[in-house]
């Protein structure tokens, strides 16, 4: 004997539907792949500041270090692990190579729900240049 079935059953149905949402919401959606970002192809821009795998996980902390060094200590060159020297500049260095911000930074950030507030002040390149 189930008491209060008229409350219990709908309650359970709603709860189960909510907890399995990730599964049924994705039925029929195309399978998800790594964001297909537009990697720079120019002659002088074959390599990122640091190795690709490291950049993927650490680019935000790198930017934070850059910002602190430039703004707080007026240190405006960064020596990469391979000894190469880079100007510390979000707009000129990073976006100098990754000029296609919309198809690079934004594409990956959007699919991972990241919204850096940096562009409130820093100037982003307009469109696909």
């Amino acid at each position: 004997m189930l008491y209060n079935a008229k409350y219990i059953i709908p309650g359970l149905v709603v709860a189960v539907a909510a907890f399995t949402a990730p599964f049924w919401l994705n039925i029929g959606t195309p399978s998800y792949t790594y964001p297909d970002v537009a990697v720079p192809t120019g002659e002088d821009s074959k390599q990122c500041v640091e190795p690709k795998e490291w950049m993927r996980t650490q680019h935000m902390t790198l930017l934070n270090t850059w910002r602190d060094e430039a703004v707080r200590f007026d240190k405006r060159t960064y020596v990469a692990t391979d000894g190469k020297k880079w100007d510390i500049s979000l707009q000129n260095t990073c976006l100098g190579c990754h000029a296609n911000k919309v198809d690079f930074c934004d594409k990956c950030h959007n699919s991972n729900n990241v919204q850096p507030y940096c562009w409130n002040c820093h100037v982003a390149p307009k469109g696909n240049e």
């Binding site: 008491y3 209060n4 079935a5 219990i8 959606t29 399978s31 790594y34 795998e53 996980t57 959007n110």
Partner: protein, 350 residues
């Protein structure tokens, strides 16, 4: 406590070393899927078990003045009389932890040996903080399960990171949940009465949640995880098409293992209060015991024989014996005649 701590630690270590020894699919996919099945199945079983248990008495708690005379103000939400009132009370309980808000502590003033009661809101405050931080964190994680990510998740992240401290932006829910967890843990350790009544069932979930939160925070701020690749892996699970685990931080699998163990023990531990709060008779019954009779559902159906019926059966012998009757013989006859449509004969005509 020690046992729970060691158990949680071993689970974490097993997952951490295991996922470095090539067992990523075990800890990252098989275990979480099993956990989801156990969690949902277990919760349904628990709720149905409760729903099958009869409530023998009306046992609503009265948190205020019951409805009485017109000029006495009733507490409509704390002592609800109506269904709407009960819904209001449940909402207060589930969303704001109304009954914890009522907590008091007792202290004996050593000078004059008098007992004083203080309102004590700390548990309420930190419990509320903990649950809401957990909810926000839970909602934020949907970015890993949905593509495209709905805008409402952007708003949640925006407000959670509103202070814009550091990169990656510090989430307020991360800071607050750690504070709340520490409070909830320390209160069991510091207060001797609480320590005495605290069992593995209290500590173990707490340690698991600490492990879960700790690994999550670690992956966000310190030992960074390739979030974009984690999403690929997670979307692979929900599409039932396993993706590569290459290059994912072992902490990620430790995180998933803590979560899985938490989900598995959920229906069988005190955590089940998530469903149980809705089925507490002390909260979900209206306080109308003076108006409505609560019938114990396991009582056998009773056959009543009222005094009126008894008098009907024995009216004539009773009248003959001169016993007092509520309805006299004449009245009863007149009533019978009226019912059968015969004209009322005046008694004197006979």
């Amino acid at each position: 406590m020690i046992v729970s701590f060691v158990a949680a630690l071993l689970i974490g270590l097993a997952a951490w070393t295991g996922s470095q020894a090539g067992l990523q699919y075990l800890f990252g996919m098989a275990l979480p899927l099993l956990a989801v099945v156990v969690f949902i199945g277990g919760m349904i079983w628990r709720v149905l078990y409760w729903a099958k248990s009869p409530v023998p008495f009306a046992i609503p708690t009265t948190g205020g003045q019951e409805r009485s005379l017109d000029w006495i103000k009733p507490a409509r939400l704390d002592t609800p009389m109506t269904k709407a009132g009960v819904v209001g009370r449940m909402l207060l309980e589930v969303l704001l932890f109304r009954s914890l808000f009522r907590n008091t502590t007792t202290r004996v003033d050593p000078q004059n040996m008098r007992i004083t009661y203080f309102s004590s809101k700390w548990l309420w405050l930190f419990a509320l903080l903990f649950h809401y931080c957990f909810l926000v964190t839970f909602i934020r994680h949907f970015r890993f399960f949905l593509e495209p990510v709905p805008v409402c998740l952007e708003w949640v992240e925006f407000f959670d990171g509103i202070l814009q401290v550091g990169v990656p932006t510090l989430f307020l829910s991360n800071v607050l949940i750690v504070c709340a967890l520490l409070f909830l843990f320390l209160r069991r350790i510091v207060n001797p009465k609480l320590r005495y009544i605290s069992m593995a069932n209290d500590y173990f979930p707490l340690f698991l949640i600490m492990g879960l939160v700790g690994t999550g925070i670690c992956m966000r701020y310190f030992d960074k995880l390739d979030v974009a690749q984690a999403k690929v892996f997670i979307m692979g699970i929900v599409h039932f098409s396993p993706q590569s685990v290459e290059g994912l931080n072992p902490l990620f699998f430790t995180h998933l293992t803590f979560l899985s163990v938490l989900l598995i023990i959920f229906p069988f531990s005190k955590l089940v209060h998530m469903g149980g709060v809705f089925l507490s008779p002390t909260r979900n019954l209206p306080c109308n015991t003076r108006q409505v009779r609560h019938v114990n559902p396991w009582n056998k159906p009773t056959v009543f024989h009222t005094y009126a019926e008894y008098e009907d059966d024995f009216r004539e012998p009773m009248a003959e014996a001169g016993l007092p009757l509520e309805i006299s013989l004449e009245e009863a006859q007149a009533h019978d005649n009226e019912k059968s449509g015969k004209p009322v004969e005046p008694a004197s005509a006979q």
